[in-house]
Amino acid sequence: MSNDALQALIGSWFPEPEADKLQCSTEGSQYLTISLDPAYLSGLMERLKSSPETQFDYLFCLTGVDWGKELGVVYHLESTTHRHILVVKVQTADREEPCFDSVSHLWPTANFHEREVFDFFGIRFRNHPNLKKLFLTDEWEGYPLRKDYTDEVNMIVK
């Protein structure tokens, strides 16, 4: 399915795009990128995976990002049947207790990827089966990949 067709299809799933903060664009990226309100993430992901037209069965990348004010997660999806690629983005301004729905029940590979994001960004994932630190020790303070993280001993600031 082409990017335009994908965009039209996904747009048709959301009758009120403004209320869902749905944005589709191909600007500044080689893939179609969709960003939306985190409340609708779980529903969208389920539909993207199960719909026969989309069949996004392969989550090949899951990235945590600190946008400065907001924290977010970027999902890269591919369909092994149709071979199309889609990027889904969510973000939240809550830096104290950021939380998104887990997608590990849809793609088991997300289990480890979400734990990595939890480690380095402190983003929690609702309904994750085993959300505990993967790389860092339990005593580790702070979230190293956040932009405001400081470590005077181990980080060299040029």
């Binding site: 600007e27 500044g28 990226s29 080689q30 893939y31 990128t33 069965d57 392969y58 989550l59 090949f60 990348c61 990235t63 990002v65 600190d66 970027v74 890269h76 092994t80 071979r83 990027v87 793609w107 088991p108 590979t109 289990n111 480890f112 990827h113 990595e116 993967l134 790389f135 860092l136 020790t137 190293p144 990949l145 600031v157 040029k158």
Partner: protein, 373 residues
Amino acid sequence: METATIAPPIKSEEYFINMGPQHPATHGVLRLLLTLDGEIIKKVEPDLGYIHRSIEKMCERNSYQQIIHLTDRLDYLSSHINNEAVCLAVEAALGVEVPERVKVVRTILDELIRISSHCLWWGVMGMDLGALTSYFYAFRDREMINDIFEETCGARLTMNYNVPGGLMHDIHPNFVARTREFLAHFKTKLPEYDRLLTDNVIFQKRTKGVGVLSRQDAIAFGASGPVGRASGYSCDVRVHHPYSALPKVTFKEALRTEGDSFARYQVRIQEMWESVAIIEQLIDAIPEGPHQVATDAVIKLPKGEFYQKVETARGELGVFIISTGTKNPYRLKFRSPGFSNLSLLNHIAVGGKIGDLVATMATLDLVIPDIDR
């Protein structure tokens, strides 16, 4: 005469055991927390981070040329391919078209290092199962590839031969002759690999039907590389998203359907043959021309997001760059094949014996610095 004996009911209880971080079969500092019932595995839980260097954070403070040097230290057995991934991402973002010569040389070196990596895996796989000879066979042949790399790139493992816009310098005058010599040598040695290990009955009994991964689970767990292909999942980035000189060559994607340890083994053996075939198609016709196009000394990527996939010896490596238009990436993520392949270890090892875990792990071909980025 009957003797009435009351046998106490046989009970077993679960216990924990640490495999690693210092364990020869984990090939690096990987710690696995095993829950066992006798010899049967109930749960495998990896504990990571023993050599985590936070390369992604370091990338945020370095220029794009500097980042290439860090990628060597991910999967150090596919270092040339890792370098290429960043270069391709930067070149695509800048809209730079590299000369044909560069594309061909990059692909030849990619396949050479894939053979080198698979050789090391093959040798170590035999050793994990108690067959020491394979190690010496593999290292003898791998040495020839290392020599080719040393001559052309100046380094045997961490090449840093790729730069944005091309290659750091032109290939060595001996490169073509040496590569041909290696191919002729290796084609006589690969059948020996089969005679020594593949056809060995003990080896087959230890790997057939062990650690079975279905095609559906391979996709769900994000498996890639030989691990995915052994389950019948066509996931070769070289086929689906070809880069460099790959559109010019023909080769057969190594696919098996059994999904067990032996299938993963066979896929890698077949891949070595295919890599030889790819190099043979290119080595006699390396186009003349420049080895580099000039880029700015300070590379600034335009604002945006750039993703590049490549096929390393372990599977799909993804480089995801978020740029805000400065000389450093705002965020750079490496999607490493080993990380996803490790996440399915629990799934395929549970219910098996602890002895088989070593064989299963050997066929996943994990490289720990690739997982601990």
